[in-house]
Amino acid sequence: MEEIKLMKGNEAFAHAAVRSGCDGYFGYPITPQSEVMETLQELKPWEETGMVVLQAESEVSAINMVYAGAACGKKVMTSSSSPGVSLKQEGISYIAAAELPCLILNVMRGGPGLGTIQPSQADYFQSVKGGGHGDYHMIVLAPSTVQEMADFVDLGYELAFKYRNPVLMLSDGVIGQMMEKVVLPPYKPRRSMEEVIAQCPWATTGKVGRDHNIITSLALESEVMEATNIRLQAKYREIEENEVRFEEYMLDDADYVFVAFGSSARICKQAVEYARAEGIKVGVLRPITLFPFPTKKIQELATRVKGFMSIEMSAGQMVEDVRLAVNGSKPVGFYGRQGGIIPSAEEALEALKTQIIK
């Protein structure tokens, strides 16, 4: 029988990492995600699976270790929280440009600046629009339960290697610090060196019986660089075509739609319960992938509902993508709290009533 555990999102992520056959974790402590590295250290996976766990001297160093590990075709990861993820942006741009697969976890806290250690979702723009320099995208997964903190590790690696692209898990202090029931995924063995070479013939695994492999993001000739960019963009369009994921919650008969991800989606589900008790037909569209964004699903909903309400722990970031999708055909409202304050279900419902239902 599968074993049900009670653990924090951060802990579940760490357990799932070991079980996913991960080769290496490189991180730096920052609240509210330090349990990830602490749990990995307690698990001592280097004794069981041979997984490397290394505390780097900075987030900058950690992401560059991830770059190098990914360049070797290894399953590598890092985790951090907002200010630390800002430090990683240069490395992420290089990883995206060199088309390297890896997993990055951001357990968001409130900003800007050093900000607060309390939960936030204000890194949406940074996560889905770029963050580092140049035209690139990460695949962004937004867990909303502790179970998904575990499950998205495997999913993340699957997508990362399928597209040779960095995958970001965009979580927040609620999901990271909350304890819930979780069924941990089964153990997968780490790939052997032969399997790594077979799966990643491009990786720097040693020049044996082939030309030397080079991992770089440098192209001084503009024509070459443009061609690289065109290839990357084609990949992003392919990802948009194939990898959109979302959860529909009570949308079948809905007149109004909350659009929310992560912990905000949990709050919106609570708001739906309150709203339906009052006879208001509301549902939730929870984007699971923030890039690619469920634009088509929102367009389809816009043909049959009366309005949308984006609920976020930010000053209003994802709402811009909702508006782009709806394209003026239906009203789109926004309600958010900032600085580590979590919007309540009551506030979300009240905002829907005042802004959209009127």
Partner: protein
């Protein structure tokens, strides 16, 4: 069944671990559970609280405005959370260090002199188990044997010799809680 509980007090009073034991016990009983701490640097001395939800169905929001059961262990927590007990709900407080009693009349208020009792019995470290015992007496949200299982789960093995003292504290807590 769905029970929405918040436990609030000073850091160091065992607020988070009390919530954890409840959550583990809920898990053992096959419930859906969430345990959400107000986390922060104030591990000792500051204020701490934890929201625990036990439910037969999947839990939407792990954070709430109103609660079925509110346990307050210091005055700032009473000031903050008294108004957030659902009408007809339960408020449990320890009078130690409090400057006033709860004022609401539309809720069930219980007093548990856990600090004083624990001190008198030389059991200050199991203070939070007195409170938990009191809570379970007035609303058995989880079964006592599941609590002991939960406690075993949340205590490191080197502390398992303390289990009997904790159980005794819990039973005593059920005796000393009184309705106002």
């Amino acid at each position: 069944m769905k029970k929405e509980i918040i436990i609030a007090g000073f850091g160091g009073q065992g607020v988070l671990s009390m919530g954890k034991i409840l959550a583990y016990a809920g898990l053992m009983q096959g419930k859906e559970v969430t345990w959400m701490p107000a986390y922060g640097p104030e591990q000792r001395g500051g204020t701490a609280n934890v929201t625990v939800i036990l439910s037969d169905d999947p839990i939407a929001s792990p954070l709430l405005q109103k609660y079925d059961i509110v346990v307050v262990l210091n005055q700032p927590s009473m000031d903050k959370f008294e108004s957030r007990v659902k009408p007809g709900g339960i408020l449990i407080f320890d009078p130690n260090g409090m400057t006033r009693e709860p004022e609401r009349k539309d809720i069930n208020v219980y007093r548990i002199p856990a600090t004083d009792t624990a001190a008198a019995l030389g059991q200050a470290k199991t203070f939070n188990m007195f409170v938990l015992g009191g809570l379970l007496k007035v609303d058995p949200v989880v079964e006592l044997d599941k609590v002991m299982l939960g406690l075993k789960k949340s205590l490191p093995e080197r502390h398992h010799k303390l289990l009997p003292a904790n159980e005794a504290a819990m039973l005593k807590g059920g005796e000393i809680i009184e309705k106002l």
